[in-house]
């Protein structure tokens, strides 16, 4: 019998749900009630489970806490896990992403923050070091802020020394030397909100994901545009044909199988609701050549958006797919999106979900 943990971060707290079959769920009382939870990382490497949570109080600021006992107790480094060096003159506003690295780099965790910054921890998320080359990048002055804030919202570690980052607004940046240098990688991604031809950077890429089998293949949900790159981000082509809209925030890649991705389309920039007011996930099994609409068990009357981190997959077989709405509803699929059941309802706005099969 395996247990799956689903962490649900909302505008007003964190809820933990557990299930033996990923169809019926037990929901915890709230953790960090009245505190925003925009990021959660579940680290199951090494046979232990560590929950890392980026919490943010409207009054008392952001911090990272962690739990090694599934939320029974929480620990917070006295002097803070993420703090800008004094010479930057900057202060962390929000922790958008907590991403454990691969199994062969135990203890390494990446964070993406607002203001736009990427951080690396080697002690399981207890202390992070600012990636200075990206902080000092000459493009910084021209990076903008999406509606949610200027943030590095996606950190996607790859094989070797490659890491891809996506920021709003700045687009995709890649390092192939472990963070020593970063290059924009947005060729083929539009930026319709800027005059003239698409620039080298400045795109509002909403989310990126890496193919599990072909690591040089990436997928991007853009601020209008759904794209795939087959060359590690050097160039991107549209894979939006077959979707009801090319707008949305979510991009999920299958953790084991090549070419399978999920998106959750919204109508448009100016109409951020599910098409026809019906929530649906769309899955491609051929790297975006074709798409299938999946909505069994999802509400047929839904006018809330699914935010960029309010969707995730687990690593089970078949893979579980999870989505949460700004209306506080959370749904789980135990069969790769073919059908969903409701995990929770009437929660505050769901900002992030993360799921893992517990070791």
């Amino acid at each position: 019998m395996t247990t799956t943990l689903l962490a649900i971060g909302t505008r007003k707290g964190l809820w933990l749900a557990t299930s033996e079959d990923r169809r019926s769920w037990s929901l915890s009382p709230p953790h960090f009630l009245m505190t925003e939870v925009p990021s959660v990382g579940i680290d199951v490497r090494g046979g232990c489970t560590r929950l890392m949570v980026g919490v943010r109080s409207e009054h008392f600021g952001p911090t990272v806490v962690h739990s090694d006992d599934l939320g029974v107790s929480w620990a917070e480094p006295e002097h803070g896990a993420i703090r800008f060096p004094a010479d930057t003159g900057a202060a962390v506003e929000r922790i958008w992403q907590l991403q454990p690295d691969s199994a062969d780099r135990p203890g390494v965790v990446w964070a993406g923050c607002e203001p736009i910054s990427v951080w690396r921890s080697e002690d399981g998320g207890e202390s992070f070091e600012l990636c200075r080359p990206l902080w000092d990048h000459p493009h910084r002055a021209e990076w903008g802020a999406g509606y949610g804030g200027a943030a590095a919202h996606s950190v996607v570690p790859g094989p070797g020394s490659t890491v891809h980052v996506a920021m709003s607004t700045g687009g995709v940046y890649r390092t192939t030397d472990g963070g020593a240098s970063w290059q924009p990688r947005n060729s083929g991604i539009s930026a319709y909100f800027l005059p003239g031809p698409a620039p080298e950077f400045g795109q509002c890429v909403h989310k990126i994901a890496r193919d599990a089998v072909e690591p040089r293949r990436l997928y991007a949900q853009n601020h209008h545009g759904v794209h795939r790159s087959d060359d590690d981000g050097d160039s991107w082509t549209s894979i939006a044909d077959g979707l009801p809209s090319d707008f949305g925030f979510v991009m999920l890649a299958h953790p084991h199988r090549a070419g399978t991705v999920w998106v959750v389309p919204l109508v448009a920039d100016g109409e951020r609701v599910p098409p026809d007011g019906e929530l649906a996930v769309h899955r491609s099994d051929d790297a975006g050549v074709s798409w299938r609409r999946l909505a069994e068990g999802l509400p047929t009357h839904e006018y809330n958006a699914v935010l960029r981190d309010a969707a995730c997959v687990d690593r089970a077989d078949p893979v579980g797919v999870y989505v949460g709405t700004r209306g506080g509803e959370v749904y789980a699929s135990a069969d790769e999106g073919e059908s969903f059941t409701q995990v929770a309802g009437h929660l505050p706005d769901v900002l992030c979900v993360r799921a893992a099969v517990l070791p």
Partner: protein, 94 residues
């Protein structure tokens, strides 16, 4: 000199459960020095009220004898002997 400090109940988990304390400070101390003194024993409390640049968080207010320090000299506001200093969250949130 001694000053009285009132702390927000919401942060009592960062101050060992205390919602007030008496502090002995050097003469001519400032609000910044007062917060520095609290930070020695309660570093998490300090991070809750000041960010890593040392600035008071936007939705935290500090009053010295009833006067909000942003209307005075900010964290450089003097704290006189016998003063009552109140740290409190502002009206914010939804």
């Amino acid at each position: 000199m001694t000053v009285q400090v009132l702390l927000p109940r919401l942060l009592s988990d960062c101050t060992g459960g205390r919602t007030s304390m008496s502090l002995d400070l050097p003469a001519a101390a400032t609000v910044c020095a007062l917060l520095d003194a609290i930070a020695v024993e309660h570093p998490v409390f300090d991070r809750r009220v000041r960010d890593e640049t040392g600035a008071l968080r936007r939705h935290v207010n500090v009053y010295v004898d009833g006067e909000e320090v942003r209307r005075l000299a900010g964290l450089r506001t003097p704290v006189p002997s016998g003063a009552e200093v109140m740290v409190v969250q502002s009206v914010a949130g939804g």
